[in-house]
């Protein structure tokens, strides 16, 4: 069996591990368009904050591919020829496959803001981007970051740590709009502002003037030596579209992570996978998902018939010393909201008919794991147990007993 993987990062590493868990012999070829080996994108913000300390951004050990007999080709795939079961590379090579994995990830969106095409307006997505920004800020004092999603926040934090004056502009009414409720965002906003980050919410950038003035829709002007554009990402699906595979926002997959061509699989940021809470196929674009899907696709490529279990949106991030975990749904309309606060800690949970469907935990990682799994494994509590969890003070000892029973911690006693 000859396995070929397009893209050489997280989902690809997961796939190699998955294939090798079942097939020690088959030939594996990775074709990757990025110069660096398999590195981990989240580490680029750590690199930017302190290049000497975080110069190693590798995802796996240097011998990872060699130890698993994986051949890597540094080139871009230009075409998937399905009838011929082969790939055309930009270096002129042709590579045949028996099983193919599309692990092409995503790319940053560049919105059509006038002036966004100037060379001091950067995206923050690859280690190459981080290295360029690292060079460019030698002479810089002020920077504007557009977008307060995870990538924008981590870029802002890194530049702030480098001593720059950072203005963060978010068009939604609060920061981290996809992770936080307005209420939870207030405390994070205040924490970051107190340390000196200039955060402007509910406002859009109108024009990026060549004289380094950034004009907002309300007329306010900010000056910046550098602009970081972090308004979101979109899946790299061009190859799949050109090959006639079914694609919506991301590559469409069945329950076994196969595309509409059963010799071709997809995983990671390029693909739509099952969100077990919404019940829909969605692009979730998160590293844990990319690895897990890659692993599962790899096993199935190697002949297993294992259903993909799906996952839920979730994220954990540290921003200037604060840890923020969130998972599931945090939208205003869903479920009953229960909250708990203490100094510098906050927990919001969303409950629907004894099921936990979402949470935000600020500076309380101790309960995050069971909460995430109560959502993704859909473990119901007894009536009132989630209320009690919050009222008695959230801790592992107040997690509903039904949860521990499912995990068989309370099996022997069946205690309630």
């Amino acid at each position: 069996m000859k396995y070929v993987i397009i893209g050489g990062c997280i989902a690809a590493c997961g796939a190699v591990e998955g294939i090798r868990s079942k097939d020690a012999q088959g030939q594996i070829i990775i074709i990757d368009g990025e110069k660096r080996g398999a590195y981990t994108r989240p580490l680029i913000s750590y690199f930017l904050s302190e290049p000497s300390k975080y110069s190693d951004v590798d995802y796996r050990s240097p011998d990872f591919f060699k130890d698993r007999a994986v051949e890597t080709i540094k080139a871009r795939v230009e075409l998937i020829d399905r009838p011929g079961q082969l790939l055309n590379l930009d270096n002129g090579e042709q590579i045949e496959y028996d099983r193919l994995l599309i692990a092409t990830g995503a790319s940053p969106i560049m919105p059509p803001i006038p002036g966004a095409d100037q060379d001091w307006v950067k995206s923050f997505y690859t280690i190459g981007d981080a290295e360029t920004i690292d060079r460019d800020i030698e002479a810089a004092r002020e920077v504007v970051v557009i977008g307060s999603g995870l990538i924008g926040m981590k870029a802002a934090e890194a530049l702030f740590k480098r001593g720059l004056k950072v203005h963060l502009v978010e068009k939604e009414s609060h920061i981290l709009p996809r992770q936080l409720t307005p209420g939870a965002a207030v405390s994070v906003h205040r924490h970051l502002a107190r340390q000196g980050l200039d955060i402007i919410t509910g406002e859009e950038v109108a024009v990026i003037h060549p004289d380094h003035q950034i004009e907002l829709k309300n007329g306010q002007k900010l000056s910046a030596d550098l602009v970081i554009m972090a308004v979101g990402t979109r899946p790299n699906v061009e190859l799949a579209v050109a090959a006639g595979l079914e694609v919506r926002q991301g590559v469409v997959l069945d329950d076994y992570l196969r595309t509409s061509d059963h010799k071709i699989y997809a995983a990671g940021d390029a693909a739509e996978t099952l969100n077990v809470i919404s019940g829909k196929q969605e692009v979730m674009a998160l590293l844990p998902h990319a690895h897990r899907e890659g692993y599962q696709a790899g096993r199935n490529m190697a002949g297993m018939d294992e259903l993909d279990q799906g996952s839920i949106p979730m994220n954990s991030v540290k921003l200037l010393g604060w840890n923020i975990c969130s998972a599931g749904v945090t939208g205003a309309r869903d479920g009953e909201l229960l909250s708990w606060y203490s100094k510098e800690q906050l927990l919001e949970i969303k409950v629907r008919e004894n099921y936990l469907i979402g949470y935000i935990a600020i500076n309380m990682p101790e309960v995050a794991g069971p909460l995430t799994n109560a959502i993704s494994k859909k473990i119901p509590a007894a009536a009132g147990e989630w209320q009690e969890f919050v009222e008695r003070g959230p801790s592992l000892a107040t997690i509903p007993s039904a949860y521990w029973q499912v995990l068989r911690r309370l099996e022997a006693n069946g205690s309630n």
């Binding site: 844990p288 975990c325 069971p370």
Partner: protein, 147 residues
């Protein structure tokens, strides 16, 4: 391999935590040294749940969520199947903490980096918690946990 807890035998005395802490961070199992002069930090915590208690050990899960999730590659599995943390690589994002079903992997109160049960892989013999439990409420068994 993993250590499992038998809640009906557990007295909640906490000796497991004490010997766990003393087995790590270079205290070499010396409880007096750890608790007189050091800052001992147990890897597994005791959970006291209404009438019963158990040591919240790592299950060394088969398809380990922490290993899948780690954004830096700091979570690793050794040749014996033991999941351990390469502390120097840990950037304290707590993604692994967010996905551990048991709430086992946790930040160290000292370093902020993740610490977890490593089945005392750096020392001889059975894990310190198992050998010091006075009521045989902890057992070292084969296998991981399916997720």
């Amino acid at each position: 391999m993993k250590v499992i807890s038998v809640p009906e035998y557990c007295l909640g005395c906490g000796l497991c935590e004490i010997y766990c802490a003393a087995q790590h961070d270079g205290y070499d199992g010396n409880v007096l040294k750890a608790y007189k002069r050091g800052q001992p930090t147990p890897r597994s915590g005791l959970i006291k749940f209404s009438q019963i208690s158990w040591l919240n050990t790592c299950m060394n899960c088969d398809d380990a969520p922490c290993l899948n999730a780690c954004i830096s590659g700091a979570v690793k599995r050794d040749e014996d199947g033991i999941i351990y943390i390469d502390e120097n690589r840990c950037v304290q994002c707590y993604t692994c903490v967010m996905v551990c079903p048991y709430g086992h992997a946790q930040p160290s109160s000292k370093s902020g980096r993740i610490i977890k049960c490593d089945l005392c892989r750096d020392s001889e013999g059975i894990p310190a918690c198992v050998s010091h439990c006075p009521n045989a409420a902890l057992k070292l068994v084969q296998g991981g946990a399916e997720q």
